[in-house]
């Protein structure tokens, strides 16, 4: 296990280094931030001063070297437009995105798995067919459209929920969360549902396929023959076996929930990292874009690692393989 983790960590650090090169140089060939930042009234001298102040007059390799030197000490540069350290800015926006992503993941699991289980156990039932048809919609409808429809239905027409923004927050262990206030909950439902829709569909399909496959296998027949109750067969034996692909996919999808919450955050004006990123891209706030991408790389690396560890806990075969090496 330890060897396995060390090996994965080594691989990860190479990935992070390579990404830093790609990201830094990639971002720096796009556009010229100076003309996005200076006031239109600025004359040539003001523009030259702004270029120097932002360090954009240095050659690109020198900028990269300065970035690496800073990164080694945990400084990923200062945002051009906020004037704050990019890392701090992103960390400040992170709790909002994390709570949105966790809520969405919770919805995906809490709604997706039971529905998938039902559809897998009773495949010919009209309700199951309805669930499966619904999951196709969940896959294929574009997020921004669904988001707007949710706003129009629940906020504008019915007036049950607020349309945009994040509600009241309370501080728990130094993190601001809106999950513990009623106002906060009413604000998070729509964006979380919008973000979760695709994942719910995914969970439904994975679970259903797993259940259908498992139900016809020998160990289920044997368990039945042994006289175990249906409940025990399904919730202990079948569930254990179908959870592996579900955990894998949901783990990987959690990364994408965080990384690609951009659309949902923009539609619902949710003050998270995704919205920060899209603004940074639009305004060429390079340090924020670079820092964000670097953090995302780290995130994916860590999540993959965790999924691997979870695997070995859920599936003894993985553990054994590792020991044999």
């Amino acid at each position: 296990m330890t060897v396995f983790i060390i090996r994965r960590l080594l691989q990860a650090s190479i990935v992070v280094m390579l990404m830093s090169v790609i990201v830094f140089f990639g971002v720096n060939v796009i556009g010229d931030p100076v003309y996005m930042l200076v006031s239109p009234d600025a004359d040539q001298q003001d523009i030259a001063e702004a270029i120097a102040r932002l360090g954009l007059d240095r050659p690109i390799w020198e900028q990269y070297w300065l970035f690496l030197k800073g990164a080694a000490t945990g400084d990923l540069g200062n945002s051009f437009i906020f004037g704050e350290p990019a890392l701090r800015l992103i960390l400040h926006h992170m709790p909002a995105t994390l709570e949105l992503a966790f809520t969405a993941l919770f919805l995906a699991v809490a709604i997706g798995i039971p529905l998938g289980l039902y559809a897998g156990l009773y495949p010919d039932n009209p309700i199951s067919k309805g669930i499966m048809a619904g999951s196709i919609l969940g896959f294929s409808l574009p997020t921004f459209w669904v988001g707007l429809m949710l706003i129009i239905l629940f906020a504008v027409e019915l007036g049950w929920l607020p349309a945009t923004g994040r509600g009241d927050t309370v501080s728990v262990l130094g993190f601001e969360t809106s999950l513990l206030t009623l106002d906060g909950l009413s604000h998070i439902i729509l964006p979380a549902l919008n973000l979760a829709l695709l994942k719910i569909s995914l969970a439904v399909r994975l679970t259903r396929a797993g259940v259908r496959e498992a139900m016809s296998q020998d160990y289920v027949k044997f368990a039945r023959a042994k006289g175990l109750s249906t409940r025990r067969i399904i919730f202990v034996h079948v569930m254990k076996n179908i959870m592996i692909p579900v955990v894998t996919v949901m783990g990987l999808e959690f990364g994408s929930l965080i990384g690609f919450s951009v659309v949902t955050e923009t539609i619902f004006a949710w003050p998270g990292m995704g919205k920060l990123l899209i603004n940074a891209i639009l305004q060429l706030d390079r340090p924020v874009v670079v820092a964000y991408l670097m953090i995302m790389v780290l995130f994916f690396v860590v999540i993959n690692l965790l999924v691997d560890v979870l695997y070995s806990i859920l599936d003894p075969r993985v553990r054994l393989q590792d020991q044999n090496k």
Binding site: P33, D46, R53, N279
Partner: protein, 526 residues
């Protein structure tokens, strides 16, 4: 169909709202996000608009950018190089300290020199030396006669000597240094989420109606409209043109519209003999036709401005024949939008030797101005109709402006023919004349945004004379004259002035501002 847009003109100083003040909160959904509470960190519209709530200026701008006394009760030139500012007495900062000349001096010292500032206020403070005469008198001395003193000074937010001048941008964001003399006091700032102010009951001027104001950035236009319809917010900026018709029929929403100081215009390559995006019809290189004033005039005549306004902008724009809409200082009364005349345009092209036409590409942004990409497409079709085969290429502003300014291999403007806009921050005609029309001259700071590099010594001379004429009446005439000369030479082709639309819940309306600011002081109860 003719759209009439009335400029709401303020009678006195700040518009006072009807009705008595009671405990009421105003929630505003903004199209663009405020990025700092430090009023001197980033000189950009959204930040400047928000800072107006907390920080006064010596001179304030009304909704048509006319100047009126703020923390200075008067400003007068004592001689050609010295302006005397008499400060308002008895004004207190939000922390209770008195406002004096020391605050002004330290403000002007900090403003040009905020660390990491991406767009500093040095643009307005340079070349000015402040001298304290007594606690309530300040002299501002310039090296050359400088008529725009009032406009420049009106951009600089006055911060407090005791807590603001030595503070960092972080201190302002945290609120400890966000102490001004303005109509609202800072309450809280959560980046990307909200900015809250509470009323300053001891304000020296008109006490605002709203006891509390909250600004929320909602960048997605449909969500902003939905938030207004759902009652989440009371007022929104930047109502998209596509929603205006529908919202007009909705009783729960009040729309207000007003022209901005922003002209949308075309810049033409007038400095290269071979322009990169202009070719003969067979694809071979040709002498740049845009160097010929007849071709430029033909292009202007070939553009149907009424169609752009009525169809592309859905009536929410005003066609333009000069650099600023009527009513602004320095505007010429003799200019009107050139008439649409395709036959005349063809005749002029033939006279210039381009009767068969040529190929050209129009470049423009697709996320900067209202309907920018659609306007570029419409113009390309109109030009193709008179024989100039025009292709369209639009791109995000983050890519566009860098290329349009310094994209060529020599670091010069890359494109041949571009669609772009200019907002006159100073609210008078010298701003576009100096930046867009005057010959590009880095040493003097003229023509900084002259991406077509039009250069005419006679126009330059008039602009420079205007910029050194302190007498308002004379300067107005000189600016109008320079504008007429520029239009005669077709230095640039203005197409229309942008009109901004604000949406408010029923019972509320917004006084439109030409500077496109959305401020709580402009939200009035009906």
């Amino acid at each position: 169909m003719k759209t009439t847009i009335t400029l709401a003109v303020a009678a006195g100083l700040m518009i006072s709202a009807v009705g008595m003040a009671s405990a009421e909160k105003l929630v505003v959904g903004l199209a663009s996000e405020t990025t700092s509470m430090d009023p001197q960190f980033h000189n950009t519209g959204p930040n400047n608009a928000l800072s107006l709530h907390v920080f006064d200026r010596l001179i304030l701008q009304n909704e048509t950018q006319g100047l009126y006394p703020g923390l200075a009760v008067s400003w007068t030139p004592v001689d050609d190089l010295t302006w005397e500012f008499k400060l308002r007495e008895g004004v207190k900062f939000h922390d209770g300290t008195d406002f004096t000349a020391d605050d002004v001096l330290c403000t002007f010292e900090r403003a040009p020199d905020v660390p990491n500032s991406p767009a500093s206020f040095a643009t307005y403070t340079k070349g000015k030396t402040l001298v304290k005469i007594d606690d309530y008198t300040v002299h501002i001395i310039t090296e050359t006669p400088y008529p725009l003193m009032g406009n420049d000074v009106s951009t600089v937010a006055i911060i407090s000597d005791s807590v603001g001048c030595d503070a960092s941008t972080d201190d302002f964001n945290a609120g400890t240094a966000a102490i001004g003399t303005g109509p609202y006091k800072f309450q809280s700032y959560t980046p990307g989420q909200s900015v809250s102010f509470v009323r300053n009951d001891d304000y020296w001027g008109e006490i605002p109606v709203w006891t509390e104001v909250e600004f929320r950035p909602i960048s997605s236009a449909p969500s902003r409209v939905a938030a207004l319809l759902a009652g989440d917010v009371d007022l929104i900026s930047g109502v998209p043109t596509t929603d205006i018709e529908t919202l007009k029929g909705n009783d729960s929403v009040t729309l207000t519209q007003g022209p901005s100081n922003r002209v949308i215009y075309l810049h033409m390559d007038q400095f290269r003999e071979n322009s990169p995006y202009i070719k003969a019809l067979d694809g071979s290189d040709i002498m740049n036709p845009l160097l010929d004033v007849r071709v430029r005039r033909a292009i202007s005549m070939a553009i149907n401005r009424d169609v752009i306004v009525e169809r592309v902008m859905e009536g929410v724009a005003v066609s333009a024949g000069q650099l600023l809409p009527d009513g602004f200082f320095g505007v010429s009364d003799n200019l009107s939008p050139p008439a649409y005349d395709p036959d005349g345009a063809k005749a002029l092209l033939a006279e210039a030797g381009y009767g068969d036409g040529f190929q050209m590409t129009i470049h423009g942004p697709n996320d900067r101005y209202i309907n920018d990409a659609k306007i570029a497409e419409a113009i390309a079709q109109m030009l193709t109709r008179v024989g100039i085969q025009t292709a369209v290429e639009t791109m995000p502003r983050s890519v566009y402006f860098g290329r349009a300014s310094t994209g060529s291999p020599e670091g010069l403007p890359e494109f041949s023919f571009i669609l772009v806009g200019w907002g006159a921050g100073s609210g008078e005609a010298s701003s576009p004349l100096k930046a867009l029309i005057h010959t590009n001259d880095s040493d003097k700071g003229y023509g900084a945004t002259n991406r077509g590099r039009h250069s005419n010594a006679a126009i330059d001379a008039v602009i420079q004379e205007a910029l050194a004429t302190v007498d308002d009446a004379k300067r107005q005439d000189l600016l109008a004259q320079a504008t007429e000369m520029a239009m005669e030479n077709v230095a640039i082709i203005p197409t229309h002035f942008q009109v901004n639309t604000w949406g408010a819940r029923a019972g509320l309306s917004y006084i439109p501002r030409t500077d496109e600011y959305t401020i709580a002081m402009g939200a009035v109860k009906e």
